[in-house]
Symmetry: C2
């Protein structure tokens, strides 16, 4: 396969498989794929997220080939490929396609960019000066696989690349620009980066100490702001009205916090870090109640949208099902 | 002064003073400022760069106030303020205003963004895992003033902020989007970040070893690509034709390499690093010859533009004058 840099993203054929839905209605999403069967009963979240992840990998392989200088592009690909971060991109695609009928390759444009900046941010967070993780998703982290200086500069390659990817897409300029602004603000000093600062501060917490306000902020400004951004980007690329985008924001933020809590509960069971987690502060049972409340809040934010288009999004917010799904945080 | 985040940049009144010019013609730049005197003789490069630097600081103070969370915004401001990086932004402003009559506050939009991403990139490069600098421009580097984890995340705050700054400006969407693409590509894996990787590799060079190809690439992909980007952004915001932008690119790249060589000559005199510098490989005299050649090449690229508009740009490329000017690299 001949690679070129920064191609028009719509050249990639969509590959996300059909999702089993609760109703027999024709799905608005994935129009170029086979129609859903007549007897679906549940939304298969793991299959959907796996498919999104596979699509993102294909997209990264296509837009970010191993080209000279290899010493620069190899760690960029290592960081971005096989990185389990599909929740925010999946929500972006589901909002754009299911709610607004956006063709899947178009919905992939912001999803791909969001995936790249999230992967880059996690790479920074894994470094010794921050959370000092040596593995992520059963692979050595980027600074372990390569080196710390490489991991620092790989971010500097990936994030501008993500913005260039949007800027050079075939989306209308005003839409592209709103996506750039949305992702920039979600990832910057009023968003994800601030959440990372705050989480790093929790490293100094003494055993038994728990600051609820700080935990709230970490939950809200990491996964909360990220999935909110995914939902908003899906709405923007779908031409949603401002009022609709505001409701999608509420949906995404609650959903992101819900998944963060569920992830923290699992992490605590494994004896992991989780300094700022509700599971640590309140125990798994109370944390699960908060997660369920977040799921209800997310579903409530979907009221008023076409019910045909929200089935998948409601499925994401099913706390019981989501508890068994692994997503990359 | 009440600060708000991400205001319309044109709210800031231009403050760059008039530049003494070679001719008596009315300058096309800085239209809202007093006209030039009738007896100018030379272009005062240091005064111009100081004024640009002062404008950039005012812009940073205005767009990036010290707001909560302070632990995040204080290092962002520390990194971006009083940072001697005005060459690329100065070229951007000079191209936009002198060649294309763009009002100064509008020319400041891309100049400000470029200044921020450059300051962020230099902060990363100063870290122990890279060039391990403890001071920059007579101040402690960001990771020394704060901490390594802060310096890592401060980039993550500044770069998205720079793109949001453009995306939320009052420029036409298609212009803004081209600026985002231009800066992204200049700073990413095909540009500045690659130059930084290569320069880091030169740390392992044995005494006496010099690889001209590597030095060429470092020169070209650091200051070369950065000033090229400044010139191109000035053209884009000025509505230049594609052919004009290509000539401006040539001008900027040659100019950037020229200043890099001049800086390296000074650095070598001070006993500094300069692994990949021509001054190290060929000695100061031969390096100066290459710098002069770059200056001629830069001026040649200006041929065909309105001579009234290129006086300041030609002044930048005067190698003899530039040798006495300090710019931030």
């Amino acid at each position: 396969m001949a690679f070129i840099s920064l191609p028009n993203c719509t050249n990639l054929a969509p590959k996300i498989p059909q999702v089993h839905r609760r109703s027999q209605s024709k799905p608005r999403a994935f129009a170029s794929l086979p129609p859903t069967t007549n007897t679906p009963t549940t939304i298969d979240l793991p299959a959907y997220l796996t498919a999104v992840s596979s699509n993102l990998d294909a997209q990264v392989s296509h837009t970010l080939p191993l080209q000279p200088p290899h010493i620069v592009h190899a760690p960029m690909r290592y960081c971005a490929l096989s990185n389990p971060t599909p929740l925010a991109p999946a929500v972006c695609i589901a909002v754009a396609s299911d709610l607004f009928g956006v063709p899947h390759p178009t919905a992939l444009i912001p999803a791909h960019a969001l995936h790249l900046v999230h992967a880059a941010a996690l790479m920074h967070e894994d470094m010794p000066a921050l959370l000092d993780r040596t593995t992520r998703a059963n692979r050595p982290t980027t600074h372990i696989k390569f080196a710390q200086n490489v991991a620092i500069l790989t971010y500097d390659g990936l994030v501008p690349f993500a913005f260039a990817h949007i800027a050079e897409s075939n989306l209308p300029a005003d839409i592209s620009l709103r996506l750039v602004a949305e992702i920039s603000k979600a990832m910057g000093s009023q968003g994800f980066a601030s959440g990372q600062y705050m989480e790093a501060q929790t490293l100094s917490w003494a055993d038994g100490f728990f600051d609820k306000d700080c935990a709230d902020q970490v939950h809200s400004m990491k996964m909360g702001v990220l999935v909110e951004c995914g939902a908003a980007c899906g709405g923007i690329v779908g031409g949603a009205k401002d009022e609709e985008i505001e409701r999608l924001r509420k949906y995404g933020r609650a959903l992101g916090i819900m998944y963060q809590i569920l992830w923290d509960i699992k992490e605590k069971e494994r004896g992991g870090f989780g300094k700022a987690s509700y599971a640590r502060g309140y125990g798994a049972e109370r944390a699960m109640e908060v997660a369920e409340e977040m799921g209800r809040e997310a579903r409530k934010a979907l009221e008023g949208f076409d019910p045909q288009g929200t089935q998948l999004l409601e499925g994401f917010a099913d706390c019981g099902a989501a508890a068994h799904v692994g997503v990359g945080l």
